[in-house]
Amino acid sequence: MVRMGRQALAALRTLVVPRRRSRPDADPRPGRWQVVTVDRPAAEVLPGGRWPEPLRPLDGAVELWLRPAPGGRGTELAARPLGGVATLPGMAAHLVGDDPGLFLRDTLRRVKQLVETGEVLRADRSPMDRPAVPG
């Protein structure tokens, strides 16, 4: 697996985590960090320090944190609502709904799928969504 150099990783962290307030394991407040391990180096998780598409709508509403996963398992990517509270503003609140944790976990999982496989896996559409063509 390609690994990111220490200097490059430090630069990436500086670039993408300006809103970081504390490490996930030191957070005493509500609004728990949601974490996913992506089996790729940090530079592939947030290429160029940019937020990947599934996270972009939440820019300004959540904070991110990332670090190398132990044992060569890639990168741990964490997110939580800014300020550590469940209430989010505007469009972010609409997207997140009643369970920000669930929504964030799902978003992180989509980021992981995109990075690891190149696409987000879609379920089959149910028969009710599409009429059958008699054959």
Binding site: D39, R109, Q113, L121, D124, S126, A132
Partner: protein, 391 residues
């Protein structure tokens, strides 16, 4: 297209449903030539899954011909004859890299139910509820295959459809029980269940060098089949004291490796429990640890118990004390087929692994409901009903 749809508890019907469509770049569409029943379908058929919806298509063990490929598919072309692993896995995540394909992080499009039930989402499976995967089943004329380069395997010309279809699920499940149970030369191996997975576990144990393989069941026709096709010894648990027989046949030590391959148990001959009588839940397959319990007690000290059966929830009266005090290794998994299917197809091509006898009933798809009734009730000597949608 026509497909075998679940309509409600113990109710199936062949209906017209929309053709599958490419939903991702790594998808392909397969025209189904063979699709087998499996014990894992029985809890679904009985309506034990709260997430199954009327109209869902069952089936996950299949073989067919590629009719359409997505732009990112590299290993397959239209016209290829392929067997498709029942487990849907991406091939790219950490779990897939470890060979734990059924634990794939990216194999399910819908993961909330699995996460709630088991703590983490697992890989997907065809023909299971949308909430635990999201992929229609293979008892249909066509099926969508996600991650096609990872989950589909070209079948060697010399291997028939009737043999190769079992490389999709039963054969890798059987091989897994023997390999992850660490069967080696000189071992005594006991296998609970003489269905397809049990028989293929017995074959795998023999191929891995076991000295003695003993298959346990209560259906005489299945036991006869196991003797004839796997070379294993057999025990009918309704007619003999299984733990005593196993002690006697293993020098008093107990089997080195015990594999539970009962699938969705039919309850055996035991009386219904008070709870079952009260809830009326004795009319179908049960999650009964009877065979696991017996395996744990029979296994030699320091041996391995592998659980292949279809468990989805909780079981009671599990002998954890015996596991600890005898120093047992307890392992289990849904099959990681992508890890073994190429090897199994090679063995099938060399005639080392024979499976076609397991298809005791070959039926057109239109007879799907009758096929499942035979399979569920173990009637007419049914081990597996295999459907031919084109037939």
């Amino acid at each position: 297209m026509r497909a075998l749809c679940w309509e409600g508890a113990n109710s199936l019907a062949v209906r017209q449903v929309p053709d599958p469509e490419l939903r991702n770049a790594h998808d392909m569409i397969v025209r189904v030539r063979r699709s087998a029943t499996c014990g894992a379908d029985l809890p679904l058929l009985a309506g034990r899954s709260p997430f199954l919806a009327a109209g869902d298509v069952l089936g996950h063990e299949f073989l067919g011909e590629v009719t359409e490929v997505g732009p990112q598919v590299r290993r397959h072309r239209v016209g290829d004859r392929v067997v498709v692993c029942a487990a849907v896995a991406c091939g790219s995540c950490w779990y897939c890299r470890q060979g734990l394909y059924s634990c794939c992080d990216n194999g399910g499009a819908s993961t909330a139910a699995a996460e709630a039930a088991w703590g983490q989402p697992t890989g997907g499976c065809y023909g299971h509820p949308r909430a635990t995967g999201g992929f229609a089943g293979s008892h249909a004329e066509y099926v969508r295959v996600p991650y096609a380069d990872v989950g589909a395997f070209t079948v060697p010309e010399t291997v028939s459809d009737d043999r190769a279809v079992f490389a999709s699920d039963a054969a890798p499940a059987g091989w897994m029980g023997a390999e992850l149970g660490e069967v080696g030369p000189g071992d005594v191996v006991a296998v609970w269940g003489a269905g397809a997975v049990g028989q293929l576990t017995a074959q795998a144990a023999t191929l891995l060098g076991a000295d003695r393989v003993i298959v346990i069941d209560r259906h005489p026709d299945r036991l006869r089949m196991a003797e004839a096709h796997t070379g294993a010894e057999t025990l009918n648990f309704e007619l003999t004291d299984v733990p005593a027989e196993l002690r006697e046949r293993s020098g008093g030590r107990g089997p080195d490796v015990c594999v539970e391959a009962v699938g969705a148990a039919d309850g055996g001959g035991r009386p219904a429990s008070l709870a079952e009588r009260f809830t009326g839940r004795r009319d179908g397959p049960v999650e009964d640890p009877l065979a696991v319990r017996e395996a744990v007690h029979a296994c030699r000290k320091g041996g391995t118990v592998f659980v292949s059966g279809t468990f989805t929830g909780f079981v009671d009266t599990f002998p954890l004390g015996a596991v600890m005090n005898k120093g047992l290794t307890l392992r289990s998994a849904r099959q990681h087929g992508q890890r073994w299917i190429p090897m199994l197809l090679d063995r099938m091509a060399r005639d080392e692994l024979r499976t076609e006898h397991l298809a005791t009933h070959r039926l057109p798809l239109d007879q799907g409901p009758a096929g499942y009734a035979l399979f569920r009730d173990r009637a007419d000597g049914c081990v597996r009903a295999v459907f031919t949608p084109e037939g």
